[in-house]
Amino acid sequence: MNAPPLSPGGGGQWALTPSGGARGETGHKSEMLDSLLGLGGLMLLRDSVEWEGRSLLKALIKKCALSGGQVHILGCEVSEEEFREGFDSDINNRLVYRDFFRDPLNWSKTGEALPGGPLGALTAMCKRTDPGPVTIAVDSLSWLLLHLPCTTLCQTLHALSRQDSCPGDSFPVGQVRVLGLLHEELHSPGPVGALSSLAQTEVTLGGTMGQASAHILCRRPRQRPTHQTQWFCILPDFSLDLQEGPPVESQAHPDPHTPPVDPMTHLTFNLHLSKKEREARDNLTLPFQFSSEKQQALLRPGLGQATSHIFYEPDAYDDLDQEDPDDDLDI
């Protein structure tokens, strides 16, 4: 599942696409998590069958729990025991787990399950009144998308993530974080696009040759979005270890310093002009250019210039009358 750590404590490397910022810092394991969590709002973790995202979700949950603040988890896909596995006891005590895996439709009617199902639980979290940072982890959004209409889910998530932007409060924006796990392969591009347009941060998991990578897209309001790719691996205790990417990865990015390919190199005709040729071209008078010499030539036909002749061969039916038909006009 997780690749064994190659170099614990090794430096991290940011491999950037051109629209991202340039940061050359190394060696900060928690920096990736900090930057991911710093933005607040909705974070979408898009994973696939090959590169699963639940371990990254748990690493983020662990980070949030350790930094204080409440952590609520909506567990729909795996059982509670399986989800809590790997966390040590003090983290487990901080997590508020709502289980919708065992009895999603509340058939047992024990009264423990929250009314309204997972949507009701999310809506109840919208109306919370206690202060302090809150992290809500949804495992997974795919499960919710399959059971709820997409619009309802989007509206609820939006209500959750904008909850703290009330101007009257003194809390800074970003106090509510929603971490959602989304299995991309299960959905058509419509719901995925709708959710990603709502998200402030999007992490797409991928990788090559056994090494996992996260492509991070951050949308800050009214600023250009930033793209980053980070290679990492997750240790058994759900802490994150940043890694250098595989060596072949650096060639995939276009080097901005290579000169552009000269398109005129392999042509069968000559596009370059030598100096003499350029002078000759400049001295050439183009036929439609109306220079003053041409004007004079036209106005005053010179000696060498023949006036124009008209050669006319009359037909048999032509009436060659040399008289001017307009002579009898009296104007």
């Binding site: 051109p18 629209s19 309204g116 949507l119 809506t123 209409p149 997409c150 619009t151 309802t152 989007c154 509206q155 609820t156 939006h158 209500a159 932007s165 058509s188 591009p189 419509g190 719901p191 696009g193 709708a194 347009s197 709502l198 949308r219 009214r222 600023q223 250009r224 979005p225 793209h227 276009p254 901005p256 552009p260 390919v261 398109p263 005129m264 183009l286």
Partner: protein
């Protein structure tokens, strides 16, 4: 026939005919209805609304979009009826800017605003409007920008393609001596006192709808229905449709609807290809157009068309609207690093121009347009090509 929007009196003659009749006394056309004092009676009633100009082509009123460059592109026939904007800007950076220019123009001209959004609070949107550039600063800013931009090559007279030297260039500066359209500084916020002096109504969907759990299977989505009722109420109460004519001076209502069609409005046109309420969006636009045609209002709508799965809906929406402009930004695409596009931030596609009371529309000559957000100004220019453009 000219739309009822122009003449509140409902007189049979068009505005242009009325002004002609008053100017030249040789015609026998008599204007029905009460004649207001003054020589050009048809003209005064229209010109009296601030921020508008009567069009001589089709007797409609013109308003500015807030971007004089865009006004020019649309052939200056931005009429007071409907104005539609497509938001193809994937990361949603530039289309909110144009949305805000439209609203800021309304505030400067003294029009009433109606802001509807499902994503942001309208009060927050209002706070983020750009500040207008004052006249004396405006010329200095524009001169500075134009000077920086001018390259030596543009001054060389063309030798072979001399006919193209006379091709129309986009003018960046103020186009007419009268102030129709203002320039805005995107880096500064509008002063608070201008906002307080203006009249605006806000529609924020999460506040108007009590619980998001209710999903009603009616033909029009609940959110759209509420919005239509809200707009209709405002138009009726404030007299934009000609009711209560003696009450106050006529004014224009500028409506701005943000992110229409996104799931936050309760519409699943972005989520599935075959959605349950597939006609909800088109019905809403049709009804809205009916509302706008019978009142003095102009509307701007931004729509995330890149999310809409069913392309037929996009075609229908385009047909329902008067003007459609698409924005394509280069962020995140391979064009960002392409040297051809290095001066620009994105492309503008004018997909539709209004054809009101005309058989054909007046298309602009230049079709290849790009935009860039220079430090403070949003400019639209013709894209200048290189002759040999081999992409590596």
């Amino acid at each position: 026939m000219a739309a009822a929007a122009t003449c509140g009196t409902g007189a049979g003659s068009t505005a242009s005919m009325a002004s002609e009749a008053s100017k030249s006394n040789v015609t026998s056309f008599q204007r029905r209805g009460p004649r207001a004092s003054g020589t050009d009676s048809g003209g005064t009633r229209l010109v009296s609304i601030a921020g508008t100009r009567p069009s001589v082509r089709n007797g409609q009123l013109l308003v500015s979009t807030g971007l004089p460059a865009l006004d020019q592109l649309l052939g200056r026939i931005l009429t007071v009826i409907f104005f539609f904007f497509t938001e193809e800007d994937k990361y949603n950076i530039y289309s909110p800017l144009l949305f805000k220019y439209f609203l800021a123009e309304g505030i400067i001209s003294g029009h009433t605003l109606l802001i509807a959004s499902a994503k942001e609070d309208p009060a927050d949107i209002l706070q983020e409007l750009p500040a207008p550039l004052l006249d004396d600063n405006c010329k200095k800013e524009l001169d500075k920008d134009v000077y920086n931009h001018k390259t030596p090559e543009s001054n060389v007279k063309m030798k072979i393609a001399w006919r193209y030297q006379l091709s129309p260039k986009m003018e960046i500066g103020p186009v007419s001596p009268s102030r129709f359209g203002h320039y805005y500084d995107a880096s500064k916020r509008i002063p608070q006192e201008l906002i307080e002096a203006s009249k605006w109504h806000g529609f924020f969907l999460p506040e108007k709808i009590s619980s998001p759990l209710k999903v009603e299977p009616c033909s029009l989505t609940h959110g759209y229905l509420k919005l239509l009722q809200f707009i209709q109420n405002i138009i009726y109460e404030e007299g934009f449709d000609g009711s209560n004519p003696q009450k106050k001076q006529k004014n224009i209502l500028r409506i701005g609807i943000q992110n229409l069609g996104s799931p936050l409005w309760g519409d699943d046109v972005c989520c599935t290809e075959t959605c349950d309420n597939s006609h909800s969006l088109t019905k809403f636009l049709y009804l809205l157009r009916g509302l706008l045609r019978t009142s003095l209002s102009a509307c701007i709508i931004t729509m995330p068309t890149h999310l809409i799965q069913n392309k037929a809906i996009i075609a229908r929406v385009t047909n329902l609207s008067d003007t459609v402009v698409g924005l394509e930004s280069f962020i995140g695409s391979e064009r960002e690093t392409n040297p051809l596009y290095k001066d620009y931030h994105g492309l503008i596609h004018i997909r539709q121009i209004p054809r009101l009371n005309n058989l054909i529309c007046d298309e602009s000559d230049v079709k290849d347009l790009a935009f860039k957000l220079k430090r403070k100004l949003f400019t639209i220019e013709v894209r200048e090509f290189l002759c040999f453009s081999l992409q590596s």
